[in-house]
Point group: C2
Chain length 199, copies 2
């Protein structure tokens, strides 16, 4: 495809490399960038560099943060005896949108999937055990996606946690099986939190 | 919405400001940026700045280019007696995808639309007349979108061109009325070029 100039072609390619963005959408976005003011274009570019440079894992819950601890772990009004275990940071954002959950999180950074060569050591399971061992935790809610890997990870981590004497629960099946947590609506997610059942 | 950190929230907002990108897609794209290597993130940011800085209008056809003249105007194998007049640069890319059109283009940069306060002086009509006046042009194909504004612009510009003794044609109605040229498939566009009719 010809866009008349190399810098434009390169920008289209960058957008097309993003997940879920096809060639025509990429082209539309690139042309849109050309209509921005110089300041706006610089802001966009800076946002990419800034986020990439400054964002790292929270040393406690492995959520994204730009400090040592994330905002949620640092919030003293939250219930630190309750940990919601999720697959990734997108799921934290989803639960936060319910505005009902007041406990902490633990981001696994993936799910156990022997087929893809991902075992418990490739995700942040050990770090969760350390948190639970500290003694402050009363309940761990396994909030992984309702898929085969999500279920397996919840069962596996749940069994590891039982000996510590904490309550281990699972999201209620209010969430449609086989879907993705990220796209669940707020009310469904809240219902699922409310009706969680013991593993 | 909380994403745990300001740089991440800012990046999400930047993506969400793009046309056709909603909050959740923006979030997904921002999280994807975090998974890139430092080099890849820099490349992306540079592509935005580069395109924005270097891209300007071709001094002849008003297509986007990073030089004085665009690649198409500079290509001596192309038929300079034939000009295809389009609304914007996206339409040039669409015609180039047919790989069948070998003439030149003229990008109007908009359509005449009295309702939006856009008259012939707000788009590159004068520049087209100058090109046709030069005498080299044999035919002008009006390839504006098949919408009310597109038709009106084609008729208006066509009437201005007639006195110069050039053939003025219009894309055949192979293209579905009311749609957008940008999304037409290659074959449809080629058929529309082939069956163009005199205004």
């Amino acid at each position: 495809m010809k866009f008349g100039a190399l810098p434009l072609t390169k920008l289209v390619e960058q957008f097309a490399s993003l997940p879920g963005i096809g060639r025509k959408t990429a082209q539309r976005l690139a042309f849109y960038i050309l209509t921005l003011t110089k300041e706006q274009a610089k802001e966009f570019a800076d946002a990419i560099l800034d986020a990439h440079e400054k964002i790292r894992y929270c040393s406690v819950c492995k959520n994204y943060t730009d400090r040592e601890h994330c905002e949620i772990c640092e919030d003293e009004t939250r219930d630190s005896s309750l940990i919601c275990v999720v697959e990734d940071a997108k799921d934290v954002a989803a639960f936060e949108r319910t505005r009902e959950y007041r406990g902490l999180y633990h981001v696994l950074g993936g799910l156990i999937s022997p087929m893809d060569g991902i075992g418990p050591d490739q995700i942040f399971v050990k770090e969760l055990l350390v948190r639970v061992q500290s003694g402050e935790v009363r309940e761990v809610i396994m909030a992984t996606n309702p898929t085969v890997e999500g279920e397996a990870t919840a069962m596996y981590v749940g069994r590891l946690l039982k000996p510590f004497g904490v309550r281990v629960s699972r999201l209620a099946y209010g969430i449609p099986v086989g879907s993705d947590l990220e796209y669940a609506d707020e009310v469904t997610l809240f219902k699922a939190l409310e009706n969680r059942s013991e593993i």
